[in-house]
């Protein structure tokens, strides 16, 4: 395999990795994979049944603390896990938002009743979530969100609009950021609700994203949400959101890195034998120079990722360090997509399933990279974070 030498993740992580592989070999069989690939591209990656299978065998919440039913794995083991899952291409999106963002928030901010109600179901793969953060007027400036929730007896009544919720057309629940105090300063008046997407008054408008998968907009018209579904105190939502996000950045980064490395390995593997115009492509000095540069960048992205895990294992929260990793890896993904297009030529344009597309994922990788540079806080915002938090530059 044409790949960079792996960093030793330690014996515990290596053993854990082997365990994951064994499970995958049994449960993510070639037949399963073929069936999954027969689905339209936009449906792939999300499979409620597979999530339940993972839940049944304890593969959801491996990084959760044991008291919440998790395996209490270290960050390194979790990274090994997400890498294996990403490498296998197994669909994890149906449970991943609940497992990561929602659960993280519930650990810290949920009541005992909420923890008892939601965590076991998430762990069994029986609850799927989308995130309801962005709005037409609140993208980078998330705190400008306007979707309102007003208390009415035992319920909150929600009105407003959300955008760009990945999986929002498939999920059962949404993790919704709402404004509960319009008078308060921007960050102060926000709360978080878990909302059943099948509630009366919710209208979904699914749409396609640039990389060929779906996301959705939702309209909320007097949607009644039980007050017990508010996570964290009223008007304390900003903290709930940012805590959960910080905790999850590294795992999201791990999945991204695995995708990048897999695509790069496939590209180099292809180059070993590709012949163009009677000449071996691998001998082309421009191709070699570019592959060398990308390999170096991949090593750097791994280094950033390892630094983030070290910090977490030391009990710190990587903030600007996480932003550094995100900016670098997402822009690397874009460079890799561009390089693949240049190296593969017109064939690089062909969609994944097209005939004669040996590396059909490449054009989708390029289109996906744009989400990496925008989603979860644009790279412009990340650079603000690096400058203001990492370098202490004035606001």
């Amino acid at each position: 395999m044409a790949t960079l030498p792996a960093h030793d993740m330690g014996s515990a992580a290596n053993a854990f990795r082997a365990e994951v592989r064994t499970w995958l070999a049994k449960n993510w069989t070639p037949e399963n994979q073929a069936a999954h690939r027969r689905k339209p591209f936009k449906e792939r990656g999300w499979d409620a049944e597979f999530s339940k299978l993972m839940g049944r065998d304890g593969w959801i919440g491996v990084g959760w603390p044991r008291k919440f039913g998790g395996q209490g794995c270290s960050v390194t083991e979790q990274l090994a896990f997400v890498t294996e899952m990403a490498n296998s291409g197994a669909p994890v999106q149906a449970h991943s938002t609940g497992e990561s963002i929602v659960a993280q928030a519930l650990f810290k901010h949920g009541t005992q009743e909420q923890q008892d109600e939601w965590l076991p179901a998430i762990r069994r793969g029986e609850r799927s979530f989308a995130l309801g953060y962005s709005e037409p007027e609140a993208g980078s400036d998330l705190a400008a969100l306007r979707t309102r929730a007003v208390r009415d007896g035992d319920h909150w009544v929600v009105n407003g609009q959300k955008l760009w919720s990945t999986g929002g057309d498939k999920a059962e629940y949404i993790w919704l950021a709402v404004r509960t105090d319009p008078e308060a300063k921007k960050h102060a008046g926000i709360s978080v609700l878990i909302v059943d997407l099948h509630s009366p008054g919710v209208t979904l408008r699914p749409s396609l994203a640039l990389y060929g998968k779906t996301f959705s907009a939702q309209f909320y018209d007097n949607v009644r949400v039980p007050a017990t579904n508010m996570v964290g105190a009223v008007n304390d939502g900003w903290k709930v959101i940012t805590d959960a996000l910080a905790a999850e950045r590294v795992m999201i980064g791990g999945t991204r890195m695995a995708g990048i490395e897999r695509a790069f390995d496939r590209l180099t593997e292809y180059l070993k034998t590709a012949v163009v115009g009677g000449k071996a492509l691998r001998n082309d000095p421009v191709v070699r120079d570019r592959i060398g540069a990308l390999a170096a960048d991949i090593e750097i992205a791994r280094q950033f990722q390892m630094r983030n895990s070290r910090l977490i294992e030391q009990g710190k929260v990587p903030l600007h360090e996480a932003a550094v990793g995100k900016v670098f890896a997402s822009e690397l993904q874009e460079r890799l997509g561009q390089a693949a297009l240049d190296i593969l030529g017109t064939r690089g344009l062909l969609s994944e399933d097209a005939e004669g597309a040996p590396l059909g994922e490449m054009e989708q990788l390029l289109r996906h990279s744009i989400m990496g540079m925008i989603g979860g806080g644009t790279n412009e915002i990340q650079r603000n974070v690096i400058a203001q938090r990492g370098l202490d530059l004035p606001r």
Partner: protein
Amino acid sequence: MDVRLTSEQSLLRDSAAKFVAAAGPKVARGFRGQSPGFAPARLREAGELGWLGILVPEANGGLGLGLTELALVLQQAGRGLVCEPIGLAAISAAALAQGPKLHPMLERAMSGAALIVPALQEGAHGDEPSAPRTRLARSQGSLRVTGRKMFVCAGGADGFLVSAMGPDGPVLCLVERDAPGCMLAATQTVDGRSLFTLDLADTPANLVSPHPGSRDAAETLHHLALIALSAELLGVMERAQEITFDYLRIRKQFGKLIGSFQALQHQAVNIYIRTEAVRSLVFQIAANNEPFGIDPALAIAVKAKASEDALVVTQTCIQLHGGIGFTDEHDIGLYLKRAMLLSSLFGNVAAQRRRYAAGMNLSA
């Protein structure tokens, strides 16, 4: 930079802009995944306006204009994400009219009644146009071609201009779609448009005579294609940039217009510089070259530059839009996808640079 245009050229550009006003992203979206992926009636309309014969001498029924005029029309086509293959049809008609003897297909090609497109590419990585692997041979008194052409924009086409190696060197010949031994296989691309693999097995063909001033009609057509695609890419990046700059002027975040943030201003300026550079190059080259005597180095250079910059510009445009730019329903993504398609046709930036280096005797 404003290209200095004669009043006739301005009129032509304006009429192209008017034509394009009826196209645009919404229309382009409707053609995704469709066959043939454009409206034949609109192609005939372009024929009536004379654009398909824009390079054809007046004496032969064309407009007898030059590369500048071709570029002006295709720039507009790029701006409007026009799906009708006006550029490919126009250069094919020009190719049919270049020789001393008029090709019988010329008139229908110019009117848009028949769509003839180039089928020159044989590999994914761009080709040396004067060394096709497709073979032309004479058998039983008629000419026959055998070989495989790739990435042909064959949707709705009635015939192909195929480059082939004949007994005396490279030639260009016309193959009709319905000819025996002519097989097409479609592949979907990122743009939603299909590209085709054209397999020819002992297929009847007839020769297209080269321009008196050039030795190889296939090479001439290849270079015309590079200019045509570059002009269209220019239009794609121009329009994407306009849409983006308009958005920067109205979108507010953190209580300010996002166009007031320096980080975004500087990115906007960087793509503006790239677009202007491509514009200068396209029109400089168009003004200083005859359609049948294009300097190969310049044709290669402009396609390299336009292919690279169009991708950078359209991607930056999406980044400047933020989340909304990533939605399929927003138009800006269509410009990226069109740029990806046009950049790769007839060789992407890497392929062009390789050929340039080879031509300069720089390659190993």
